[in-house]
Structure formats: C-alpha cells, structure tokens
C-alpha cells in the first residue's frame, strides 16, 4: 500500500508493506538511514523520531498507521556546517564513541530541550532513559545536556 508521510517538512510517498515499521520505511524506502535499527522492541531508543510532536520509537509505529503524520528524523535536526545545538554539544563533550546510539540521543535530547529548555540532571536522565549506549559514554552524554540546560538552548 502507499503511505504519504511528511518527513522533515517534505511530503514523501512510499509503497510499503502495511504491517512493517515506520523505521523500515524511513531506512529502506525513503533513504534516510540516520535512524538506527537495533532491538526492534522499543528498548534501545536508537530508532527515536518525533512523530506528530512526540518522541517515539519508530520501530513500534506501524507503517500503515503513519499515513498523514509528520515525522522528524535526525536528518531533519541538523546538517554538516549547520549542526543542531545538541549535536554541537555532543561533539564538544566527546559524547560519541561508536556513534550508533547517537541519532537516538540527538532526537530524544532535542525533544527534551524543546519541551523543557532548562532540565535538571534528574530530568535529563529520565528523558534519556529510553536510549541505550553500549560504549557506556553516558557520562559525556549527560555533560553535553547539562551544558545545554545551563545555556537554555
């Protein structure tokens, strides 16, 4: 079936298997591989996108059910030369090791700062609790968001 989704501000149509995930549609049909595919059960957060204003796991969104929705992926957050403040802060703190979990942290963290510009350390930890880093770079990731919270970016 065909679904039309506004992705990063642009209407996109793809011929999809109705029951597959939005994650697969983004990566395989819409050529947006920034959103990562790992656990496929909503536990790792590497596939986090903004769907109609909420940060959700795109692996748990049925492709057919995404029809008509607005999606922002990491590709819509920043680009080389014009990074998102979250990306700048993570670079500055060295909050990236293998990089696989990074897009999920960028999207979940940007969503946090949009809804709460000055989160406390506890609020940062809670907002990022659905994103797993297996290099255990959590310390640097938290420092990046603490800097952003102080700046109120």
């Amino acid at each position: 079936m065909n679904v039309t989704i506004t992705v990063n501000g642009e209407p996109r149509t793809a011929d999809v298997v109705a029951s597959e995930s939005l994650l697969n549609v983004l990566r395989d049909d819409l050529d947006l591989p920034g959103t990562k595919d790992a656990c496929e059960q909503g536990e790792c957060g590497s596939c986090t996108v903004i769907l109609d204003g909420e940060a959700v796991c795109s692996c748990l969104v049925m492709a057919a059910d995404a029809e008509g929705s607005e999606v922002t992926t990491v590709e819509g957050m920043g680009e080389p030369g014009h990074l998102h403040p979250v990306q700048e802060a993570m670079l500055a703190e060295g909050a990236v090791q293998c990089g696989f979990c990074t897009p999920g942290f960028v999207v979940a963290g940007a969503h946090l700062l949009e809804t709460n510009p000055h989160p406390s350390e506890l609020e940062i930890r809670e907002a990022l609790s659905g994103n797993i880093c297996r290099c255990t770079g959590y310390g640097a990731i938290l420092r990046a968001f603490e800097t952003l919270s102080e700046e109120g970016t």
């Binding site: 079936m1 029951s19 995930s21």
Partner: protein, 266 residues
Amino acid sequence: MEFVAAHDLDEALAAKAEQPDAELLAGGTDLMVEVNLVHHRPEQVVSLRRIAELGDVSPRRIGAGVTWSRLEHGDHRGLAEAARTVGSPQIRAAGTIGGNVGTASPAGDGLPWIAAADAAIEVQSKARGPRVVPWRDFFVGVKRTSLEPDEIITAVIVPEDVPEAQEFAKVGARNAMVISTVSCLVMRGDDGFRIALGSVAPTPIRAAAAEEMLNAESTITEAALDEVARIVSEEVRPITDHRSTEAYRRHAAGVLARRLVERSLR
C-alpha cells in the same frame, strides 16, 4: 493486510463488527513487538490512534486511548506513580491504558491500580452498545480477557469511593525500561486498606487475607506490618520464569506490601 484508520468510535466499531478477527492497534508497543520479533503478520488491523474520544479523561472515567505520559500527570496518585515506571519516555508517549488492559499481561503496570480501585472496564460493540465489566470478571487469565471479538475497550471506569492515599512500587532488574517482576499498589481509605499485586498470578490480584487482617487491627503495629508481609507472601501465586523465581517473587511481594502499607500511614 487490511488496514482501517478509524477516525471515530462508530467507524472502529463498524470495522470490528464486520471483521471480528481484526487486531486493534493503539500505541503499538505490544503489537509491533510481535510483528518485529515473532514475525507475526496481522491480516486485519483497526487503528484507534485517531479517535479523539478515546483520549478523554476525567477523574471517574479514563479513556482507553490515554497515554502513560498523560497519566503521569493524572488525578490518581497511584496510577500516576505506576505510569512513571512504564518503559521509557518513548514508550509512555505511545502506549495507552486501554492497551495495557487489552493485552492483560500479568506484568501490566496499570493493572494493580485498577484492581485496588475496584475499577471496571467499559467496552463497546456495534451490536450491543456499551457494557461495563468489573475488573475481576474482565481479567480471566494470562493475557486473556472476557472481551468479545466484536468489542473494543473504551474506558476504565473509576468508582467514587477510591481512597486518595495511594502508593505504588515495583521491583525489576533495573530502574529504567523494565518489566516488573513484582508490582504492588496499596490504598488506604475510610473502609480500610486495599492491597493489589501484579506479576504474581495469571491476573492482577487483591491480597484479600492480608487486607482482612489489617482491617481488623485498631492500630497498625510493627507486628501487624510483619504479618502483612507474611500473609501476602503466602497469598500470591507466582511462577518461576525468565524474569525471576517463585520464591523471590513471594518474598518481594511481602516486602513491597509491607513497605507500601507503612508508607500510606505517613
């Protein structure tokens, strides 16, 4: 796969009347795990996400489509505490209380609150309209409910006499993103204590013997609290599975019940 994106309840009920085998999709946090990991291929799906009326919430009636992230800030303290422990922010933004009720997992985080509140489940069908099912009749086994194939869960109905003193806690392997190995909800009101538990039986349960013992006491002493823990440990019917053992669950159920009864007295 046939897919109906219902825009209102009538449309969803009509679709379910026509295709009773259709699977209902709300937040997707259960159904999509089946699709992704068990290669489940639904043939018919009715999506409820766009139905605004399922998102209505009031102190006495919680729409089935209300998400955990909304319930975190809701009227009922115990349910809000339970909502905060569901999955992660991403899961709470998608998952709904109706989905928790419909999936009826023994570990469903909202279910001990429903049992302690003596809440009922409102369901509707096109043929027979709405009916309200007491929670004890609704949850009939592990992931089994008395929902008829043509019915849709529309709300949780909350009685007026729900005590304001409510305490929830759960035990899991870690703090975030965890499925409970034991959960407990205690309420304290004019009619006495209510103790409900999850993950220790095929359905959510009330610890009736422990409640009866407590409610016969004029003051709650340390000895009475110890007795609560002992009775609850005996009353529960847990199993050993990949998440925990029967013995641990019995012990933890008693500890949690004792702790929450004590907390509710403060």
